[in-house]
Point group: C2
Chain length 634, copies 2
Amino acid sequence: MAQKVYLSNYEFKEALNKYLSEISSVFLNKEVINTEEGLGRVIAQAVYSKISSPFYNCSAMDGIALHSSKTIGASEKHPIVLEEGKDYIVVDTGDPVPKEYDCVIMVEDIVNIAENRIQIYKSAAPWQNIRPLGEDIVEKQLIVPSGHTVRPVDIGAMLAGGVNTIEVYKKPLVGIIPTGTEIVEPGSDLKVGDIIDFNSRTFSAQVIEYGGTPKRYGIVKDNYEILKETLKKAVSECDIVIINAGSSAGREDFTSDLIADLGKVYVHGIAIKPGKPTIMGRINNKPVLGIPGYPVSAYIIMEKVLKKIVENYQGLKTKEPQKVDAILSRRIMSSLKHLEFVRMKLGYVGNKIIATPLSRGAGATMSLVRADGTLEVPQNVEGIEAGTKVEISLMRDMEEIKNTIVCIGSHDPILDVLSDMLHLSSKHYYLSSAHTGSMGGIMALKNEETHIAPIHLLDMETGEYNISYINKYLKNKDIALIKVVKRIQGLMVQKGNPLSLKSISDISEKNVRFVNRQRGAGTRLLLDYYLKKLHISPDQINGYEREEFTHLSVAAAVANGDVDCGLGVYSAADMMGLDFIPVCNEEYDFAVPVQYLELDIIKELLKVMKSSEFLKKLDELGGYDYSDICNIIY
Amino acid sequence: MAQKVYLSNYEFKEALNKYLSEISSVFLNKEVINTEEGLGRVIAQAVYSKISSPFYNCSAMDGIALHSSKTIGASEKHPIVLEEGKDYIVVDTGDPVPKEYDCVIMVEDIVNIAENRIQIYKSAAPWQNIRPLGEDIVEKQLIVPSGHTVRPVDIGAMLAGGVNTIEVYKKPLVGIIPTGTEIVEPGSDLKVGDIIDFNSRTFSAQVIEYGGTPKRYGIVKDNYEILKETLKKAVSECDIVIINAGSSAGREDFTSDLIADLGKVYVHGIAIKPGKPTIMGRINNKPVLGIPGYPVSAYIIMEKVLKKIVENYQGLKTKEPQKVDAILSRRIMSSLKHLEFVRMKLGYVGNKIIATPLSRGAGATMSLVRADGTLEVPQNVEGIEAGTKVEISLMRDMEEIKNTIVCIGSHDPILDVLSDMLHLSSKHYYLSSAHTGSMGGIMALKNEETHIAPIHLLDMETGEYNISYINKYLKNKDIALIKVVKRIQGLMVQKGNPLSLKSISDISEKNVRFVNRQRGAGTRLLLDYYLKKLHISPDQINGYEREEFTHLSVAAAVANGDVDCGLGVYSAADMMGLDFIPVCNEEYDFAVPVQYLELDIIKELLKVMKSSEFLKKLDELGGYDYSDICNIIY
């Protein structure tokens, strides 16, 4: 049986600083490169110009160069005639002005009177229209100081100052070793148990963003000796090496032993969540990190540890993320055992920024894609109450967040389509939806956390949809209902309907394996409505307690054979190639505070919803009746 | 004689929008690339997952997988014994859970009692510790919408969702053609009249920053036929082509004719400063720009025109620069003829942001290097008064600007050294100096525009330095004087002193060509002091009216043979390899408001000034006596 080794639990910042100081001798190596290849590099040695720019006196105008003494006394009444070659030469802008001349008269102030003769009507002052040597850059002047990160304009100025090579800090080559017997390359024929190696590709892109150069090695199986050889090779070829994963304490987690074998482990296990099973070590004076396998843990460790190493390696200033204050919409519980980074969705609703925690699972890649920022919950804090003002480190531009429609409530596949089409129609607008179920949408409207709540709530007494719920739960608010679609709800079953299900009563009678939706979802309320009507008790349903959050998740569970049946919309069943037994038609609408109907972004959304492209897409998805779309009921 | 063709003067934004709409058919070409190479690319076709992630039910823990029914009734008093293979299998985190099992018990809750037998003490709930299929990403779920710019996390999520290739907008290849008979490659042996081609290198770096790929062509002489062949080649190879320069209306400016010859010119001349002689055209459905030769004009046109084209080409969102409000320190005059972009230096002094215009010359590359932002003066505005609140588009992080010591006043080469050493000593601190002369420094203190004013002002009556000026001009302020150096002022003359100058009186007696410093410079006041003492009138000095702004510029003019002599400090003469005739010792100090002495950044500066590295550098520069350095007189 697996043995359990316990990791240490170093306080994060302390461990990181200790580690950075242990490896500080590897930082700030210098190299000389061509100035023109310097973009983004950090200057190691202050750059002083080698020549002046311009390095000779030159004309600032198109015109003639001459000595000012030849022009004394010229006036409208007494013009002076000058001869080319004898008195002046013709110059264009930038042409050198010979030493015997001290001024330039611009072409507009000259009258040609013969092939080589011109006339002038006023005298010229010494040095007029001449760009003197060094006007822009004087020889030996400081152009950029040490520690400066090179921009395009710096490249221009350094080359203009005769500086063709520069001394910069070396940019680290970061070796990335994906490990694991179960890991396979993207594009492989997948079999159950395989895990696609996407982490190493995310790491490569992160390394580029941090200012390093990534070098990805092939996947190494969980074999100590092979891994050891690969690690030795990577350490000899690269400046920094990261190993993913095997950094925990399971049966095949020997990254830590391996680093200790070849070098030294400073830290194994830090008080951070996600990301605890992290290893910080060194082999042959090269930093070596063991990065956890879960993608969110890996992301956090890359951001919080590797980024700092890459920055320190070449003297890059740390780019701190922009921060913003927001109101926490839900209580967050954390543990005193660790510092936690929680991914947050932000919504700019009614001039307030609302922050809602996303899935905190270490495997939730989509929580990173969907996140607008992160909230740091310190180690000594057990929780933060809803309504608290919190500081969020942004992962997305505030401008984008302000131009995003927040849509919290019931899920339907058309929300994905709308999100895409809105952004296509107006590239500054976004729609972001969170799937909390219809009642979650009603509560979000009540708490002023959302612009729109998609709902499909059947009043069991009147048989009417949505309106009675708004009247009951949002009676103090001015809410409009944008009609969207009538959609077909029904039983999703495997292709060919192997269990020959015909209706909801079959679920209990045939004891089929069912999967339910989460509490508060309109679809669950619909199930409950039918169960009550049919006098079926929930505990007669095998799987009533098993919850999924979207129609697609339910359909996926059926398609995979995990369960035999679930309740959901036609389009989701159709997307997954399932059979579908219609149960009822229901009305899926958007509840929205009346004042938001005036927002440009909501008007744009309505425009998209009325467009023929969108309606065509609804036809393709199937199971939607959009005859009332965009009718507004106040 | 040169003929003058007048350019058109289209209103800038109108011309740009017209042009962008003319060439809009070339934008948004699509291509398919590998997902892992997608960083920074713009999604052309919304990405939906192809598989779920995980694509099978898997264990969320290290432990055993089994069916929950086997655990019913387990308790501390009545543990249940289970047998490996028959009742359970051992699983690590991520391992698949076979369909016959529905839960995982974590290793911590298990007691091994024999080789293949374990004991449990509580029952397990169905689905506990299982990551169900699709927990992270459900098949056919939207991962990123069209128009989204790919980040590292998106690459991970797309690969996890089985999406190995993506459709993105094509990234443009931008051809850059430097032209001009006088243009030479960096590193060439320079002769008078040569101009180093640094523009095309700056352009390359700018194109990379904008999100395009640059392709630089060799320098083309001003020959219509050769240029035509190169342009045809570039148009056939690239997506966008820029020609630098020949875009004006001088003798050899035939870029416009050439574009018209091969295609169409939409605009030649826009009401923008700098940057008027710009050409916007098209050849074979490829955008072709003629970019002015002056580096600042070129920079502005790249930023305002090419950047937009590169962004529109691939559907990138325009990254607007951050903006900040600042108080204008000097009056700016502009013309009704054009929209003007003025480079600005910002100073964060006493909780106010002060904006000071930098050199407005189109050739002032260093004004771009030194700029913190730009001020846009609209075409219909003739000027902006000092003290006005203006909006600045930042070119540098506000955080950096806030950590910068503003130093306005007299120039000495040691300011360059201090700027470099301060940043080396503490990488978050900067020193930025503007050379306005000592009296300019006094005025900047008076107007609260600077932290520090370097001054060397001789009281002609008492012979005392600096203090009497502070008492006179800054009597209402609490100013301290940080002693810096005594430095030697003297006559800088060519190596070997060919005119055998011995003293200031020789300048007028021998009628030597002199170069002066600007009004308000302490060195000019020093000259005036001696002239008065020697009863020499300024008009007896040949070159009294010719002004340079720094010691180095004066030294450069002497070194170049433009003039025979100038007054300045020893270190500058020495740097340029000149001979030096000492005239006097003077005291060069920093005047600073007393309250700023408490700022950490000023304390850090004093630390640097007292360091042995700095004093060693003073010895190397020569001519400095630092026995009083960092003594503070209140």
